[in-house]
Subunit: 138 residues, 2 copies
């Protein structure tokens, strides 16, 4: 049994974040000492690790909630888990595509002015004012 501070250190998740997860029901309410302080077991650490990892991979709290549900019922079909992972993968890929398009435009805009002119003649400013100067959608 260890404190929230210990858990925080072990899992590398900030204390307020742990309390937040509990408050929204992502973590089960921790046991408490007589003085009302939270106490955790290795299981809690594992749970938090799962959450942390999934968050780092970009899953929403809602998705993680479903994943944990599944984990708690080892006999259920894992169909939903793979669905969620694939959805997440698609979302990441879409985001990458969009950012790449932004990157192109920003690179073009950035190199269009060396920064030693007056703002009236600045290509950066006119490019921002004028989407027609862009090559792609974004």
């Amino acid at each position: 049994m260890f404190s929230i501070g210990e858990l925080s250190k072990q899992a590398k998740v900030k204390i307020p974040t742990i309390r937040y997860y509990e408050s929204i029901g992502l973590l089960a309410p921790a046991e408490r000492t007589e003085g009302n302080q939270r106490r955790y077991t290795a299981e809690g650490l594992e749970r938090l690790g799962f959450i942390k990892h999934a968050r780092e991979l970009g899953f929403s709290v809602e998705s993680i909630s479903s994943l944990i549900e599944l984990q708690e019922h080892p006999d259920r079909s894992c169909y939903e888990a793979t669905e969620l992972a694939e959805t997440q993968l698609r979302a990441v890929r879409a985001k990458i595509r969009q950012l790449r398009s932004l990157e192109q435009e920003l690179a073009r805009i950035s190199t269009g002015c060396s920064g030693d002119d007056v703002s009236e003649n600045c290509y950066v400013l006119s490019a921002l004012a004028n989407h027609n100067l862009c090559n792609k959608d974004h």
Copy 2:
């Protein structure tokens, strides 16, 4: 002189967003009719177009504020504008790198299970529980 609804249609920016921009000082307060409704000119449309385009390229509202400042002083050096654009470009590139790393892991995790097993044996769930199974940092 046209209404906020017209402006919204022309600029393809939602009405509450226009009011929001005004409320945070990104758009100058619009002129008003006797009955207190906002009225805009072509200049307002241009301004909003600038903001919209910059937002689409990922600039923060704060950065856009600085860019507009610059635009309003055509004689000033445009150094800050290029700086902001380059910073933004770097941020986008960093984000892309991070997302690519996520993509790799997610692709691996996704293909690890076809979704027709029970959750106990699901590779998706165990991979999420275990960062050690990952190849890269993220």
